[in-house]
Amino acid sequence: MTAITCNTRVSAAEIAGALARGETSSVEVTRAHLHNIERHDGAVHAYLHVDAEGALAQAAAADERRANGAPASALDGVPIAVKDVLATSGLPTTCGSKILQGWVPPYDATVVARLKRAGLPILGKTNMDEFAMGSSTEHSAYGPTRNPWDLDRIPGGSGGGSAAAVASFQAPLALGTDTGGSIRQPGAVTGTVGMKPTYGGVSRYGLVAMANSLDQVGPVSRTVLDAALLHEVIGGHDPLDSTSIDQPVGKLADAARRGAEGDLSGVRVGVITELSGEGYQAGVLARFQESLDLLVEAGAEVVEVSCPSFVHALAAYYLVMPAEASSNLAKFDAMRYGLRVLPEGVENPSAEEVMRATRDAGFGDEVKRRIILGTYALSSGYYDAFYGQAQKVRTLIGRDFAAAFETADVLVSPTAPTTAFKLGEKLDDPIAMYLNDLATIPANLAGVPGISIPSGLADEDGLPAGFQVLAPALADDRCYRVGAALEAALERKWGGPLLDKAPGLDPSTGSGQVKLDQRNGDAR
Protein backbone atom coordinates (compact mmCIF):
# COMPACT_ATOMS: atom_id res chain seq x y z
CA MET A 1 0.00 0.00 0.00
CA THR A 2 1.20 3.49 -0.79
CA ALA A 3 1.96 5.91 2.00
CA ILE A 4 -1.04 7.45 3.65
CA THR A 5 -0.66 11.14 3.23
CA CYS A 6 -4.23 12.15 3.87
CA ASN A 7 -5.44 13.22 7.27
CA THR A 8 -8.56 11.19 7.98
CA ARG A 9 -9.33 13.06 11.20
CA VAL A 10 -10.63 16.15 9.47
CA SER A 11 -14.29 16.72 8.68
CA ALA A 12 -16.04 15.86 5.45
CA ALA A 13 -16.40 19.58 4.73
CA GLU A 14 -12.65 19.98 5.08
CA ILE A 15 -11.99 16.98 2.86
CA ALA A 16 -14.35 18.46 0.28
CA GLY A 17 -12.47 21.75 0.53
CA ALA A 18 -9.13 20.02 0.02
CA LEU A 19 -10.55 18.15 -2.98
CA ALA A 20 -11.92 21.36 -4.45
CA ARG A 21 -8.55 23.06 -4.02
CA GLY A 22 -6.79 20.06 -5.57
CA GLU A 23 -4.75 19.45 -2.41
CA THR A 24 -5.71 15.82 -2.35
CA SER A 25 -7.59 13.39 -4.51
CA SER A 26 -10.63 11.26 -3.83
CA VAL A 27 -8.59 8.16 -4.53
CA GLU A 28 -6.11 9.24 -1.88
CA VAL A 29 -8.82 10.04 0.65
CA THR A 30 -10.66 6.83 -0.06
CA ARG A 31 -7.49 4.78 0.18
CA ALA A 32 -6.66 6.40 3.52
CA HIS A 33 -10.01 5.40 4.92
CA LEU A 34 -9.69 1.88 3.53
CA HIS A 35 -6.33 1.77 5.27
CA ASN A 36 -7.95 2.78 8.56
CA ILE A 37 -10.56 0.09 8.05
CA GLU A 38 -7.82 -2.43 7.54
CA ARG A 39 -6.03 -1.32 10.69
CA HIS A 40 -8.95 -0.85 13.04
CA ASP A 41 -11.97 -2.75 11.95
CA GLY A 42 -10.83 -6.09 13.20
CA ALA A 43 -11.25 -4.58 16.65
CA VAL A 44 -14.20 -2.27 16.11
CA HIS A 45 -16.16 -4.37 13.61
CA ALA A 46 -18.05 -1.41 12.23
CA TYR A 47 -18.31 -2.93 8.76
CA LEU A 48 -20.08 -6.04 7.54
CA HIS A 49 -18.79 -5.61 4.04
CA VAL A 50 -16.05 -3.43 2.60
CA ASP A 51 -16.03 -2.62 -1.11
CA ALA A 52 -12.50 -1.36 -1.65
CA GLU A 53 -12.55 -1.94 -5.37
CA GLY A 54 -15.90 -0.26 -5.94
CA ALA A 55 -15.04 2.68 -3.69
CA LEU A 56 -11.73 3.29 -5.45
CA ALA A 57 -13.40 3.12 -8.86
CA GLN A 58 -15.98 5.68 -7.74
CA ALA A 59 -13.18 7.79 -6.29
CA ALA A 60 -11.28 7.73 -9.58
CA ALA A 61 -14.43 8.84 -11.38
CA ALA A 62 -14.87 11.65 -8.85
CA ASP A 63 -11.29 12.80 -9.43
CA GLU A 64 -11.91 12.86 -13.14
CA ARG A 65 -15.02 15.02 -12.65
CA ARG A 66 -13.05 17.39 -10.43
CA ALA A 67 -10.25 17.49 -12.97
CA ASN A 68 -12.78 18.39 -15.64
CA GLY A 69 -14.11 21.14 -13.43
CA ALA A 70 -17.49 19.46 -13.16
CA PRO A 71 -17.89 18.02 -9.66
CA ALA A 72 -21.23 16.28 -9.17
CA SER A 73 -21.80 17.95 -5.80
CA ALA A 74 -20.03 19.73 -2.95
CA LEU A 75 -19.23 16.31 -1.48
CA ASP A 76 -18.10 14.73 -4.77
CA GLY A 77 -15.30 12.32 -3.92
CA VAL A 78 -15.83 12.27 -0.13
CA PRO A 79 -16.22 8.59 0.83
CA ILE A 80 -19.09 7.32 2.93
CA ALA A 81 -20.24 4.20 4.78
CA VAL A 82 -23.81 2.93 4.41
CA LYS A 83 -25.84 1.12 7.04
CA ASP A 84 -26.56 -2.42 5.91
CA VAL A 85 -30.31 -1.85 6.05
CA LEU A 86 -30.19 0.18 2.82
CA ALA A 87 -30.36 -1.65 -0.50
CA THR A 88 -27.20 -1.32 -2.57
CA SER A 89 -27.23 -2.86 -6.00
CA GLY A 90 -24.31 -5.21 -6.41
CA LEU A 91 -23.32 -5.03 -2.72
CA PRO A 92 -24.59 -7.49 -0.09
CA THR A 93 -27.41 -6.16 2.05
CA THR A 94 -28.04 -8.33 5.09
CA CYS A 95 -29.69 -6.02 7.65
CA GLY A 96 -27.45 -7.76 10.18
CA SER A 97 -29.55 -10.90 9.78
CA LYS A 98 -28.69 -14.45 8.89
CA ILE A 99 -31.92 -14.69 6.94
CA LEU A 100 -30.51 -12.29 4.33
CA GLN A 101 -26.98 -13.66 4.30
CA GLY A 102 -25.52 -13.15 0.85
CA TRP A 103 -28.48 -11.26 -0.57
CA VAL A 104 -27.38 -8.80 -3.23
CA PRO A 105 -30.19 -6.43 -4.18
CA PRO A 106 -30.82 -5.79 -7.86
CA TYR A 107 -31.58 -2.16 -7.09
CA ASP A 108 -30.39 0.87 -5.13
CA ALA A 109 -32.21 2.61 -2.33
CA THR A 110 -33.05 6.16 -3.40
CA VAL A 111 -30.59 7.59 -0.87
CA VAL A 112 -27.87 5.30 -2.20
CA ALA A 113 -28.67 6.36 -5.76
CA ARG A 114 -28.38 9.97 -4.59
CA LEU A 115 -25.00 9.31 -2.97
CA LYS A 116 -23.80 7.81 -6.23
CA ARG A 117 -25.21 10.69 -8.24
CA ALA A 118 -23.47 13.16 -5.92
CA GLY A 119 -20.21 11.26 -6.34
CA LEU A 120 -19.62 9.86 -2.83
CA PRO A 121 -17.62 6.62 -3.03
CA ILE A 122 -19.25 3.92 -0.92
CA LEU A 123 -16.68 2.29 1.36
CA GLY A 124 -18.93 -0.50 2.52
CA LYS A 125 -21.91 -1.55 4.58
CA THR A 126 -22.00 -1.03 8.32
CA ASN A 127 -23.03 -3.35 11.12
CA MET A 128 -26.32 -3.02 12.91
CA ASP A 129 -28.71 -4.77 15.22
CA GLU A 130 -30.63 -7.34 13.22
CA PHE A 131 -33.27 -5.49 11.17
CA ALA A 132 -32.39 -2.40 13.25
CA MET A 133 -33.92 -3.96 16.35
CA GLY A 134 -31.78 -2.96 19.27
CA SER A 135 -29.85 -0.23 21.00
CA SER A 136 -26.42 -1.84 21.20
CA THR A 137 -25.62 -3.54 17.86
CA GLU A 138 -25.24 -6.71 19.90
CA HIS A 139 -28.25 -8.18 18.11
CA SER A 140 -26.31 -8.35 14.84
CA ALA A 141 -26.13 -11.92 13.59
CA TYR A 142 -22.55 -11.16 12.55
CA GLY A 143 -21.22 -10.18 15.98
CA PRO A 144 -21.31 -6.86 17.82
CA THR A 145 -19.63 -3.62 16.94
CA ARG A 146 -17.42 -2.17 19.70
CA ASN A 147 -17.34 1.36 20.94
CA PRO A 148 -14.08 3.04 19.84
CA TRP A 149 -13.98 4.84 23.21
CA ASP A 150 -13.86 1.55 25.07
CA LEU A 151 -13.85 -1.68 23.14
CA ASP A 152 -15.65 -3.51 25.94
CA ARG A 153 -18.63 -1.25 25.55
CA ILE A 154 -21.50 -1.01 23.11
CA PRO A 155 -21.49 1.65 20.36
CA GLY A 156 -25.25 2.12 20.67
CA GLY A 157 -27.74 0.84 18.19
CA SER A 158 -29.15 -0.05 15.98
CA GLY A 159 -26.70 1.96 13.90
CA GLY A 160 -23.65 1.20 16.03
CA GLY A 161 -21.66 0.33 12.94
CA SER A 162 -22.18 3.69 11.24
CA ALA A 163 -21.45 5.65 14.43
CA ALA A 164 -18.37 3.59 15.28
CA ALA A 165 -17.05 3.85 11.71
CA VAL A 166 -17.22 7.64 11.90
CA ALA A 167 -15.90 7.78 15.50
CA SER A 168 -12.90 5.60 14.60
CA PHE A 169 -12.11 7.56 11.42
CA GLN A 170 -12.96 4.61 9.20
CA ALA A 171 -15.30 6.92 7.31
CA PRO A 172 -15.86 10.66 7.39
CA LEU A 173 -19.59 10.20 6.86
CA ALA A 174 -22.16 7.47 7.13
CA LEU A 175 -25.83 6.88 6.55
CA GLY A 176 -27.95 5.65 9.40
CA THR A 177 -31.61 4.98 9.98
CA ASP A 178 -33.61 6.00 13.00
CA THR A 179 -36.84 4.31 14.08
CA GLY A 180 -36.66 5.03 17.81
CA GLY A 181 -33.23 6.60 18.15
CA SER A 182 -30.94 4.39 16.07
CA ILE A 183 -29.03 7.35 14.63
CA ARG A 184 -29.09 9.66 17.67
CA GLN A 185 -28.38 7.25 20.53
CA PRO A 186 -25.26 5.73 18.84
CA GLY A 187 -24.18 9.30 18.13
CA ALA A 188 -24.50 10.13 21.83
CA VAL A 189 -22.53 7.15 23.10
CA THR A 190 -19.74 7.40 20.52
CA GLY A 191 -19.25 11.17 20.69
CA THR A 192 -20.47 11.77 17.15
CA VAL A 193 -23.29 13.66 15.45
CA GLY A 194 -26.47 11.97 14.27
CA MET A 195 -29.54 13.54 12.73
CA LYS A 196 -33.01 12.06 12.26
CA PRO A 197 -34.74 14.23 9.66
CA THR A 198 -38.45 15.07 9.58
CA TYR A 199 -40.46 11.96 8.68
CA GLY A 200 -40.92 12.13 4.92
CA GLY A 201 -37.95 14.46 4.48
CA VAL A 202 -35.64 11.72 3.22
CA SER A 203 -36.79 8.89 0.98
CA ARG A 204 -37.30 5.49 2.58
CA TYR A 205 -37.38 3.68 -0.76
CA GLY A 206 -34.83 0.90 -0.42
CA LEU A 207 -34.67 1.10 3.36
CA VAL A 208 -35.60 -2.36 4.59
CA ALA A 209 -38.43 -1.33 6.86
CA MET A 210 -38.64 -2.10 10.52
CA ALA A 211 -41.56 0.23 11.28
CA ASN A 212 -42.59 2.17 8.20
CA SER A 213 -44.41 4.93 10.05
CA LEU A 214 -41.36 5.61 12.26
CA ASP A 215 -38.28 4.86 10.12
CA GLN A 216 -36.24 7.66 8.69
CA VAL A 217 -32.83 7.74 6.96
CA GLY A 218 -30.36 10.34 8.16
CA PRO A 219 -26.76 11.49 8.30
CA VAL A 220 -24.08 10.26 10.69
CA SER A 221 -20.96 12.43 10.96
CA ARG A 222 -18.45 14.03 13.26
CA THR A 223 -19.64 17.62 12.81
CA VAL A 224 -22.99 19.32 12.53
CA LEU A 225 -22.05 20.98 9.24
CA ASP A 226 -21.10 17.58 7.75
CA ALA A 227 -24.48 16.21 8.74
CA ALA A 228 -26.20 19.16 7.08
CA LEU A 229 -24.16 18.77 3.88
CA LEU A 230 -25.00 15.07 3.70
CA HIS A 231 -28.65 15.75 4.52
CA GLU A 232 -28.83 18.09 1.52
CA VAL A 233 -27.50 15.30 -0.72
CA ILE A 234 -29.97 12.62 0.41
CA GLY A 235 -33.04 14.73 1.24
CA GLY A 236 -35.92 15.94 -0.85
CA HIS A 237 -38.94 14.48 -2.57
CA ASP A 238 -38.89 10.98 -4.02
CA PRO A 239 -41.86 9.83 -6.11
CA LEU A 240 -41.05 6.22 -5.19
CA ASP A 241 -41.89 6.89 -1.53
CA SER A 242 -45.56 7.82 -1.07
CA THR A 243 -44.83 9.30 2.35
CA SER A 244 -42.12 11.58 0.97
CA ILE A 245 -42.83 15.29 1.40
CA ASP A 246 -42.94 17.21 -1.86
CA GLN A 247 -40.86 20.18 -0.75
CA PRO A 248 -37.26 21.23 -1.30
CA VAL A 249 -34.85 20.06 1.37
CA GLY A 250 -33.91 23.57 2.46
CA LYS A 251 -30.67 25.41 3.18
CA LEU A 252 -29.41 23.18 5.97
CA ALA A 253 -25.67 23.76 5.60
CA ASP A 254 -26.34 27.49 5.68
CA ALA A 255 -28.27 27.02 8.92
CA ALA A 256 -25.32 25.12 10.40
CA ARG A 257 -22.83 27.81 9.32
CA ARG A 258 -25.04 30.50 10.74
CA GLY A 259 -25.35 28.58 14.01
CA ALA A 260 -21.59 28.18 14.26
CA GLU A 261 -21.30 31.96 14.34
CA GLY A 262 -22.64 31.56 17.86
CA ASP A 263 -25.52 34.00 18.08
CA LEU A 264 -28.76 32.43 19.31
CA SER A 265 -30.45 35.67 20.33
CA GLY A 266 -34.19 35.34 20.32
CA VAL A 267 -34.15 31.55 20.11
CA ARG A 268 -36.44 29.95 22.67
CA VAL A 269 -35.10 26.62 23.91
CA GLY A 270 -37.62 24.39 25.68
CA VAL A 271 -36.41 21.88 28.25
CA ILE A 272 -38.77 18.92 28.36
CA THR A 273 -39.59 18.18 32.00
CA GLU A 274 -40.45 14.57 31.29
CA LEU A 275 -37.09 13.82 29.62
CA SER A 276 -34.85 14.47 32.57
CA GLY A 277 -34.33 13.42 36.15
CA GLU A 278 -35.13 9.88 37.19
CA GLY A 279 -33.37 7.20 35.18
CA TYR A 280 -30.76 9.60 33.80
CA GLN A 281 -27.12 9.18 34.75
CA ALA A 282 -25.77 12.07 36.85
CA GLY A 283 -22.86 12.75 34.51
CA VAL A 284 -25.20 12.83 31.52
CA LEU A 285 -27.42 15.37 33.31
CA ALA A 286 -24.39 17.48 34.31
CA ARG A 287 -23.21 17.70 30.69
CA PHE A 288 -26.77 18.50 29.63
CA GLN A 289 -27.01 21.40 32.10
CA GLU A 290 -23.60 22.67 31.02
CA SER A 291 -24.69 22.70 27.38
CA LEU A 292 -27.87 24.49 28.31
CA ASP A 293 -25.83 27.18 30.05
CA LEU A 294 -23.72 27.62 26.90
CA LEU A 295 -26.89 28.11 24.85
CA VAL A 296 -28.00 30.81 27.27
CA GLU A 297 -24.58 32.42 26.93
CA ALA A 298 -25.13 32.42 23.18
CA GLY A 299 -28.29 34.44 23.70
CA ALA A 300 -30.96 31.73 23.81
CA GLU A 301 -33.88 31.95 26.18
CA VAL A 302 -34.55 28.76 28.13
CA VAL A 303 -38.11 27.78 29.03
CA GLU A 304 -39.43 24.72 30.74
CA VAL A 305 -42.11 22.80 28.83
CA SER A 306 -44.15 19.82 29.88
CA CYS A 307 -45.12 17.04 27.50
CA PRO A 308 -47.22 14.85 29.79
CA SER A 309 -47.97 12.16 27.19
CA PHE A 310 -44.29 11.43 26.69
CA VAL A 311 -44.42 9.06 29.66
CA HIS A 312 -46.51 6.78 27.43
CA ALA A 313 -44.22 7.10 24.42
CA LEU A 314 -42.16 4.01 25.15
CA ALA A 315 -45.26 1.85 25.55
CA ALA A 316 -46.82 3.24 22.37
CA TYR A 317 -43.57 2.68 20.53
CA TYR A 318 -43.27 -0.92 21.68
CA LEU A 319 -46.70 -1.62 20.24
CA VAL A 320 -46.60 0.32 16.96
CA MET A 321 -43.08 -0.72 16.04
CA PRO A 322 -43.44 -4.50 16.57
CA ALA A 323 -46.86 -4.47 14.91
CA GLU A 324 -45.49 -2.95 11.72
CA ALA A 325 -42.31 -5.02 11.96
CA SER A 326 -44.19 -8.30 12.33
CA SER A 327 -45.89 -7.62 9.01
CA ASN A 328 -42.78 -6.25 7.26
CA LEU A 329 -40.70 -9.26 8.20
CA ALA A 330 -43.28 -11.74 6.90
CA LYS A 331 -41.67 -11.47 3.47
CA PHE A 332 -38.59 -13.32 4.72
CA ASP A 333 -39.98 -16.75 4.02
CA ALA A 334 -37.30 -18.67 2.06
CA MET A 335 -39.26 -18.54 -1.19
CA ARG A 336 -37.78 -15.71 -3.29
CA TYR A 337 -34.47 -14.69 -1.70
CA GLY A 338 -32.32 -15.20 1.32
CA LEU A 339 -31.88 -18.22 3.53
CA ARG A 340 -33.76 -21.47 2.95
CA VAL A 341 -33.56 -24.01 5.75
CA LEU A 342 -35.12 -27.44 5.43
CA PRO A 343 -36.58 -28.82 8.65
CA GLU A 344 -34.66 -31.74 10.06
CA GLY A 345 -36.03 -35.21 9.63
CA VAL A 346 -38.90 -34.24 7.35
CA GLU A 347 -39.21 -36.01 4.03
CA ASN A 348 -40.13 -33.64 1.16
CA PRO A 349 -41.15 -30.78 3.47
CA SER A 350 -43.90 -28.39 2.45
CA ALA A 351 -43.42 -24.69 1.73
CA GLU A 352 -45.09 -24.01 5.03
CA GLU A 353 -42.66 -26.22 6.97
CA VAL A 354 -39.68 -24.69 5.19
CA MET A 355 -40.93 -21.20 6.04
CA ARG A 356 -41.22 -22.09 9.71
CA ALA A 357 -37.83 -23.76 9.90
CA THR A 358 -36.14 -20.93 8.01
CA ARG A 359 -37.68 -18.18 10.10
CA ASP A 360 -36.71 -20.02 13.27
CA ALA A 361 -33.12 -20.49 12.14
CA GLY A 362 -32.76 -17.16 10.36
CA PHE A 363 -34.10 -14.71 12.93
CA GLY A 364 -32.41 -13.90 16.23
CA ASP A 365 -34.11 -13.72 19.62
CA GLU A 366 -34.87 -10.00 19.59
CA VAL A 367 -36.47 -10.23 16.15
CA LYS A 368 -38.59 -13.16 17.28
CA ARG A 369 -39.63 -11.28 20.41
CA ARG A 370 -40.78 -8.32 18.37
CA ILE A 371 -42.52 -10.36 15.70
CA ILE A 372 -44.49 -12.23 18.33
CA LEU A 373 -45.26 -9.06 20.25
CA GLY A 374 -46.44 -7.36 17.04
CA THR A 375 -48.51 -10.36 16.02
CA TYR A 376 -50.15 -10.19 19.43
CA ALA A 377 -50.78 -6.44 19.25
CA LEU A 378 -52.53 -6.80 15.88
CA SER A 379 -54.57 -9.87 16.75
CA SER A 380 -58.30 -9.50 16.72
CA GLY A 381 -59.40 -9.09 20.28
CA TYR A 382 -56.28 -7.15 21.23
CA TYR A 383 -56.10 -4.62 18.43
CA ASP A 384 -58.18 -1.90 20.06
CA ALA A 385 -56.59 -2.29 23.47
CA PHE A 386 -53.05 -2.26 22.16
CA TYR A 387 -52.34 -1.15 18.60
CA GLY A 388 -55.40 1.11 18.40
CA GLN A 389 -54.59 2.67 21.75
CA ALA A 390 -50.94 3.18 20.77
CA GLN A 391 -52.03 5.04 17.62
CA LYS A 392 -54.14 7.33 19.78
CA VAL A 393 -51.22 7.97 22.10
CA ARG A 394 -49.30 9.04 19.00
CA THR A 395 -51.95 11.70 18.51
CA LEU A 396 -51.50 12.86 22.11
CA ILE A 397 -47.74 13.00 21.71
CA GLY A 398 -48.14 15.01 18.51
CA ARG A 399 -50.40 17.42 20.41
CA ASP A 400 -47.84 17.74 23.20
CA PHE A 401 -45.19 18.65 20.65
CA ALA A 402 -47.51 21.16 18.99
CA ALA A 403 -48.23 22.82 22.31
CA ALA A 404 -44.55 22.86 23.30
CA PHE A 405 -43.54 24.42 20.01
CA GLU A 406 -45.94 27.27 20.76
CA THR A 407 -43.63 28.37 23.54
CA ALA A 408 -40.28 27.11 22.26
CA ASP A 409 -38.53 27.08 18.88
CA VAL A 410 -36.61 23.92 19.72
CA LEU A 411 -36.92 21.34 22.47
CA VAL A 412 -33.92 19.81 24.15
CA SER A 413 -33.05 16.82 26.32
CA PRO A 414 -30.19 14.41 26.89
CA THR A 415 -30.13 12.07 23.89
CA ALA A 416 -29.72 8.88 25.91
CA PRO A 417 -30.18 8.40 29.65
CA THR A 418 -26.75 6.83 30.12
CA THR A 419 -23.36 6.56 28.53
CA ALA A 420 -22.28 3.38 26.75
CA PHE A 421 -22.82 0.27 28.84
CA LYS A 422 -20.79 -2.90 28.76
CA LEU A 423 -21.29 -5.48 26.06
CA GLY A 424 -23.61 -8.19 27.31
CA GLU A 425 -24.89 -6.12 30.22
CA LYS A 426 -28.46 -5.75 28.95
CA LEU A 427 -28.50 -8.35 26.22
CA ASP A 428 -31.12 -10.58 27.77
CA ASP A 429 -33.04 -7.88 29.60
CA PRO A 430 -35.25 -6.38 26.90
CA ILE A 431 -36.84 -3.74 29.12
CA ALA A 432 -33.50 -2.38 30.28
CA MET A 433 -32.39 -2.26 26.67
CA TYR A 434 -35.58 -0.49 25.56
CA LEU A 435 -35.13 2.25 28.16
CA ASN A 436 -32.15 3.57 26.16
CA ASP A 437 -34.59 5.05 23.68
CA LEU A 438 -36.73 6.88 26.20
CA ALA A 439 -35.74 10.35 25.03
CA THR A 440 -35.45 9.65 21.32
CA ILE A 441 -38.72 7.82 20.70
CA PRO A 442 -41.19 10.74 20.97
CA ALA A 443 -39.68 12.37 17.86
CA ASN A 444 -40.27 9.21 15.83
CA LEU A 445 -43.84 8.86 17.01
CA ALA A 446 -44.59 12.45 16.00
CA GLY A 447 -42.40 12.55 12.88
CA VAL A 448 -40.39 15.58 14.01
CA PRO A 449 -36.64 16.01 13.38
CA GLY A 450 -33.97 15.57 16.04
CA ILE A 451 -30.22 15.81 16.21
CA SER A 452 -27.75 14.50 18.76
CA ILE A 453 -24.45 16.24 19.25
CA PRO A 454 -21.67 15.36 21.73
CA SER A 455 -22.07 17.22 25.02
CA GLY A 456 -18.88 16.02 26.70
CA LEU A 457 -17.76 13.17 28.90
CA ALA A 458 -19.64 11.98 31.96
CA ASP A 459 -17.64 12.46 35.14
CA GLU A 460 -18.32 8.95 36.45
CA ASP A 461 -16.90 7.02 33.52
CA GLY A 462 -15.27 9.47 31.13
CA LEU A 463 -17.56 8.33 28.33
CA PRO A 464 -19.42 10.57 25.84
CA ALA A 465 -22.91 11.89 26.42
CA GLY A 466 -25.26 13.43 23.87
CA PHE A 467 -27.44 16.54 23.70
CA GLN A 468 -30.64 16.26 21.68
CA VAL A 469 -32.28 19.14 19.81
CA LEU A 470 -35.80 18.58 18.49
CA ALA A 471 -37.64 20.89 16.09
CA PRO A 472 -41.07 21.03 14.49
CA ALA A 473 -41.70 18.98 11.34
CA LEU A 474 -39.92 20.50 8.34
CA ALA A 475 -37.89 22.83 10.56
CA ASP A 476 -34.80 20.62 10.36
CA ASP A 477 -32.75 23.78 9.85
CA ARG A 478 -33.34 24.70 13.51
CA CYS A 479 -31.66 21.45 14.65
CA TYR A 480 -28.64 22.39 12.57
CA ARG A 481 -28.53 25.99 13.70
CA VAL A 482 -28.82 25.29 17.43
CA GLY A 483 -26.68 22.14 17.16
CA ALA A 484 -23.87 24.00 15.38
CA ALA A 485 -23.99 26.85 17.90
CA LEU A 486 -23.63 24.43 20.79
CA GLU A 487 -20.92 22.46 18.99
CA ALA A 488 -18.92 25.64 18.43
CA ALA A 489 -19.29 26.73 22.06
CA LEU A 490 -18.34 23.30 23.40
CA GLU A 491 -15.31 22.94 21.13
CA ARG A 492 -14.08 26.36 22.25
CA LYS A 493 -14.43 25.15 25.81
CA TRP A 494 -12.68 21.82 25.08
CA GLY A 495 -10.09 23.32 22.81
CA GLY A 496 -10.99 20.96 19.99
CA PRO A 497 -13.37 18.15 18.99
CA LEU A 498 -14.48 15.73 21.68
CA LEU A 499 -13.08 12.82 19.70
CA ASP A 500 -9.59 14.18 20.39
CA LYS A 501 -10.19 13.02 23.95
CA ALA A 502 -10.92 9.45 22.91
CA PRO A 503 -8.26 7.41 24.67
CA GLY A 504 -7.82 4.70 22.13
CA LEU A 505 -7.62 7.07 19.21
CA ASP A 506 -5.45 9.91 20.49
CA PRO A 507 -2.99 10.64 17.69
CA SER A 508 -0.54 12.34 20.05
CA THR A 509 0.20 9.21 22.05
CA GLY A 510 -0.48 6.59 19.44
CA SER A 511 -1.13 4.11 22.20
CA GLY A 512 -4.74 3.75 21.21
CA GLN A 513 -3.74 2.90 17.69
CA VAL A 514 -1.45 0.21 18.95
CA LYS A 515 -4.16 -1.17 21.13
CA LEU A 516 -6.52 -1.23 18.21
CA ASP A 517 -3.98 -2.85 15.98
CA GLN A 518 -3.38 -5.57 18.54
CA ARG A 519 -7.05 -6.25 18.78
CA ASN A 520 -7.17 -6.22 15.06
CA GLY A 521 -4.61 -9.00 15.00
CA ASP A 522 -6.43 -10.96 17.65
CA ALA A 523 -9.78 -10.70 15.99
CA ARG A 524 -8.70 -11.73 12.54
Binding site: S350, A357, D365, T375, P430
Partner: protein, 112 residues
Protein backbone atom coordinates in the same frame (compact mmCIF):
# COMPACT_ATOMS: atom_id res chain seq x y z
CA UNK B 1 -59.72 -1.52 12.92
CA UNK B 2 -60.92 -5.06 13.76
CA UNK B 3 -63.75 -5.52 16.19
CA UNK B 4 -63.00 -6.62 19.67
CA UNK B 5 -64.82 -9.87 20.25
CA UNK B 6 -62.94 -10.64 23.43
CA UNK B 7 -60.98 -8.67 25.95
CA UNK B 8 -57.28 -9.36 26.48
CA UNK B 9 -56.43 -12.08 28.94
CA UNK B 10 -56.03 -10.20 32.16
CA UNK B 11 -55.93 -10.95 35.79
CA UNK B 12 -55.88 -8.24 38.39
CA UNK B 13 -55.07 -5.60 35.79
CA UNK B 14 -51.96 -7.46 34.68
CA UNK B 15 -51.48 -8.74 31.20
CA UNK B 16 -50.08 -12.23 31.05
CA UNK B 17 -49.10 -14.09 27.96
CA UNK B 18 -49.13 -17.82 28.37
CA UNK B 19 -46.73 -20.27 26.86
CA UNK B 20 -49.59 -21.66 24.76
CA UNK B 21 -50.41 -18.19 23.55
CA UNK B 22 -46.82 -17.59 22.50
CA UNK B 23 -46.88 -20.91 20.67
CA UNK B 24 -50.07 -19.84 18.86
CA UNK B 25 -48.60 -16.45 17.92
CA UNK B 26 -45.40 -18.08 16.69
CA UNK B 27 -47.60 -20.34 14.61
CA UNK B 28 -49.41 -17.34 13.10
CA UNK B 29 -46.03 -15.75 12.43
CA UNK B 30 -44.66 -18.98 10.93
CA UNK B 31 -41.77 -19.37 13.34
CA UNK B 32 -40.97 -22.90 14.43
CA UNK B 33 -40.10 -22.22 18.09
CA UNK B 34 -38.81 -25.20 20.00
CA UNK B 35 -39.60 -25.92 23.64
CA UNK B 36 -36.49 -24.22 24.96
CA UNK B 37 -37.27 -21.06 22.98
CA UNK B 38 -40.82 -21.03 24.25
CA UNK B 39 -39.55 -21.33 27.82
CA UNK B 40 -37.17 -18.48 27.22
CA UNK B 41 -39.44 -16.10 25.30
CA UNK B 42 -42.78 -16.46 27.07
CA UNK B 43 -41.70 -14.87 30.38
CA UNK B 44 -39.82 -12.10 28.57
CA UNK B 45 -42.88 -11.29 26.47
CA UNK B 46 -45.00 -11.19 29.59
CA UNK B 47 -42.68 -8.63 31.12
CA UNK B 48 -42.73 -6.51 27.97
CA UNK B 49 -46.49 -6.72 27.69
CA UNK B 50 -46.93 -5.76 31.30
CA UNK B 51 -44.87 -2.67 30.77
CA UNK B 52 -46.75 -1.63 27.63
CA UNK B 53 -50.14 -2.44 29.15
CA UNK B 54 -49.96 0.89 30.98
CA UNK B 55 -51.12 2.43 27.73
CA UNK B 56 -54.68 1.15 28.12
CA UNK B 57 -57.15 3.87 28.83
CA UNK B 58 -54.61 6.64 28.29
CA UNK B 59 -56.48 8.08 25.32
CA UNK B 60 -60.25 8.25 25.24
CA UNK B 61 -62.70 7.72 22.40
CA UNK B 62 -62.44 11.37 21.42
CA UNK B 63 -58.78 10.99 20.43
CA UNK B 64 -58.34 10.00 16.78
CA UNK B 65 -55.60 7.49 15.99
CA UNK B 66 -52.49 8.55 14.08
CA UNK B 67 -51.46 6.02 11.46
CA UNK B 68 -49.21 8.36 9.48
CA UNK B 69 -47.07 10.99 11.18
CA UNK B 70 -47.27 13.39 8.25
CA UNK B 71 -50.84 14.13 7.11
CA UNK B 72 -50.51 13.63 3.35
CA UNK B 73 -53.38 12.39 1.16
CA UNK B 74 -53.87 11.40 -2.47
CA UNK B 75 -50.34 10.52 -3.48
CA UNK B 76 -50.80 8.84 -6.85
CA UNK B 77 -48.60 7.96 -9.75
CA UNK B 78 -49.49 8.22 -13.42
CA UNK B 79 -50.54 4.97 -15.05
CA UNK B 80 -47.30 4.73 -16.95
CA UNK B 81 -45.21 1.60 -17.50
CA UNK B 82 -41.66 1.76 -16.18
CA UNK B 83 -38.93 -0.80 -16.86
CA UNK B 84 -39.17 -4.07 -14.96
CA UNK B 85 -36.24 -6.11 -13.72
CA UNK B 86 -34.83 -8.70 -16.08
CA UNK B 87 -35.87 -12.25 -15.16
CA UNK B 88 -32.21 -12.88 -14.25
CA UNK B 89 -32.28 -9.99 -11.79
CA UNK B 90 -35.65 -11.04 -10.44
CA UNK B 91 -34.45 -14.58 -9.84
CA UNK B 92 -30.94 -13.64 -8.72
CA UNK B 93 -31.69 -14.14 -5.03
CA UNK B 94 -33.88 -17.20 -5.42
CA UNK B 95 -32.82 -20.22 -3.38
CA UNK B 96 -33.92 -22.31 -6.36
CA UNK B 97 -35.38 -21.56 -9.77
CA UNK B 98 -36.58 -23.54 -12.74
CA UNK B 99 -38.21 -22.58 -16.05
CA UNK B 100 -37.63 -18.90 -15.22
CA UNK B 101 -39.81 -19.33 -12.15
CA UNK B 102 -39.16 -19.41 -8.43
CA UNK B 103 -38.98 -23.04 -7.33
CA UNK B 104 -40.62 -23.48 -3.96
CA UNK B 105 -41.42 -26.54 -1.87
CA UNK B 106 -44.81 -28.13 -2.34
CA UNK B 107 -47.64 -25.85 -1.27
CA UNK B 108 -50.18 -27.17 1.20
CA UNK B 109 -53.53 -25.58 1.75
CA UNK B 110 -55.41 -23.11 -0.35
CA UNK B 111 -55.17 -19.59 -1.46
CA UNK B 112 -57.15 -17.18 0.61
Amino acid sequence: MPDTPGAPAESGGRVQITREEVAHLADLARIDLDEAELDHLAPQLSVILESVASIKGVAGDDVPPTSHPVPLTNVFREDVVTPSLTPEQALSGAPESEQQRFAVPRILGDEQ
